[in-house]
Amino acid sequence: MKTVENKYRINVGMATCGIAAGARPVLAALEKKISESNIENAEAVMTGCIGVCRLEPVIEIVNPDGTKFTYVNMSAEKALEVLDEHVLNQKVLEKYTMDAAESKSFFGKQVRIAMKNCGIINPEDIEEYIAKDGYKALEKALKEMTPQEVIETVKASKLRGRGGAGFPTGLKWQFARNSVNDQKYVCCNADEGDPGAFMDRSVLEGDPHSLIEAMVIAGYAIGSDQGFVYIRAEYPTAVNRLDKSIKQAKEKGMLGKNIFGTDFNFDLEIRLGAGAFVCGEETALMTSIEGFRGEPRPRPPFPAVKGLWMKPTILNNVETFANVPQILLKGPEWFSGIGNEKSAGTKVFAVGGKIENTGLVEIAMGTTLREVVYEIGGGVPNGKAFKAAQTGGPSGGCIPASLLDVPLDYDNLINIGSMMGSGGLIVMDEDNCMVDIARFFLEFTVEESCGKCPPCRIGTKRMHEILEKIASGEGEMSDIDKLEELAKGIQASSLCGLGQTAPNPILSTLRYFRHEYEAHVKEKRCEAKVCKAMIDFEVDAKTCKACTLCLKACPVGAISGKVKEIHVIDNSKCIKCGACISRCKFGAISKKDKIVAKEAI
């Protein structure tokens, strides 16, 4: 680390979420003050994601002796106060620090490999990466190992793909190495399209050199001299940092010609995605890099034989690559010793939704969902009951409370009808309707289906229509059976992973929350009171203070009454937008099961 001795290092978390929460003015204020007042024993540095998204902007002060203090919910003024007290007066300003117990439960269970440098180093400074053993694994590979030895090491580590299906990485590399060709390619999937997942972005923004290093190693292993990073255009900060890092690596001779003075050459190019979820599928991604509509191709031939421009190609995702340098440095046994038998190492989860501590957590494989939700995540807010956790995004499924103790690894998740996916983990509480959630994901897949194969193009649309029908109160019991049959057919007959997994949100909610579907159909009742066709809004006459706030908030004039006259909602006019509920200060308005519908049964 560049930190000069006896210096306080102030890390300001500047990943996208930190910036969005206002980290830029914090850093600017600190830098200004430090230079204007000539504070010689402090430096303010931008870093990547520290992981506690909920408390952004976050700064971390590393004392000269190495101890760390995390200050949260910062603003420019608060940060200056911290600078004064902590650095100049050498007193910890406790009113702004992260609660010690909370910090322990949030970070205590985490094991950081892929994210080891995130939030610690300045991602835009290659020297800081090098100071943390950066590019040592590459040097070791090039100077001390044969390409086959590199592959054997990755194989022995039992590393599996972190992007979804969990294919063994070493094996994939071996296939590509075995393919004889004059040109081969290394691709990185940084098109993190899974809504609710942002771990790849964090690695790209917090530690871009680890990806570059790993891709060069992969190039050496399979015999390729050209790599492509396919990255979402929606991640401008990540694109920018990666671009800078590639230039730095080239200047330092760690990328380009004669890397580390050997005769190995490897070049890296960034290609921007353009907002198509299907491009997360490997063959579709390659078609997109080639400049076409991102439609998948039938496999075989697999990319390791015929991939990008019909040349042997490997594709791994960002998190998978980020593990590789560490595996080479610390040995495969170290890595396979973390996690469990079939799923080695760690997994980064983006924990969000109805949970206290939204954030990025990296845990050993096999940690239970309960530990993630309750110990690291701090449980469900507002005293609400946990209903389900959704993993794997639109390809995954919902895990009910009864399975909270299932260890999170590839095989367990598949067995319970979900999947690891890229690592989004969204918690849902009693206010979320599972039919609505299934419909939400299907809407997504209908829109994102590329249209090449009919089961996915037509089938997802039909499934979505049935879900709409059920959610609007028009469903019949036979619809549920049809839905299930259709789902299984689409799973079996779609061309690529998108279609094959698109029915998962339906199948898993049918498996664990069938009663909700049945209540929607038989009783025309939405347990969570989400489906608008099945609810009424009602003012409780006892709690209503007749303040007219809700009247003014209602966009359609459905509420009648005036000052000192209890308000009444006309449900035939009401569009169930909820504006009144959020406006009422007395909690007098609530959602009720629609009475008319009940009588009609």
């Binding site: 998204c53 909920r54 809504p195 609710g196 400049g291 076409f292 969000g352 969204i426 849902m428 908030a553």
Partner: protein, 163 residues
């Protein structure tokens, strides 16, 4: 294909000079169509028919294929966008926290649907997939600004800043 305002486009020779530079930059790049479309959209704000035609001639790719690519990816727009683009994140984390209602509120206040532009050209609405700021859910962006932890009541206030 929708008709477009070609006349106004042709006038902006400066933009075409910029586009020429883009062609030069990518002339040796394999699979250059998507990067070129990205930069063309950066220059023109969207991808008018005339621009697609120029790209077709320059890259020697048929216009139908360019149209196919431009309509396949949600980043590319064939219609002009508003001066301010409201993008409501409909990723899962935002959705479970009520992003759908927030989107509806914008539609109601602006009187337009997703993908449309207000008559005065001031605003257009987009529904975007996860921008990866799930910790701030529900989140939306207007141009480059990110607004996080938005509640329904904030919506009019947020709009006012851009009016």
């Amino acid at each position: 294909m929708a008709t477009c305002c070609c006349d106004t486009v042709r006038e902006s020779d400066e933009k075409y000079t910029e586009l020429k530079a883009v062609f030069e930059k990518y002339k040796d790049t394999k699979g250059s169509l998507i990067p070129v479309l990205h930069e063309a959209q950066e220059i023109f704000g969207y991808l008018p028919f005339e621009v697609q035609k120029t790209i077709s001639e320059e890259l020697k790719i048929s216009l139908s294929e360019i149209y196919g690519v431009a309509t396949f990816y949600s980043e590319f727009s064939l219609e002009p966008k508003g001066e301010n683009v409201v993008s409501v994140c409909l990723g899962t984390a935002c959705y479970v926290k009520g992003a759908g209602d927030i989107l509806d509120k914008f539609k109601e206040l602006l009187g337009i649907d997703v993908g449309e532009c207000t008559a005065d050209g001031k605003f257009s609405i987009a529904a975007c997939r996860c921008i990866g700021a799930c910790g701030l859910a529900p989140v939306l962006t207007i141009n480059e600004d990110v607004h996080g932890r938005v509640v329904l009541e904030d919506v009019p206030k947020i709009l006012k800043k851009y009016q």
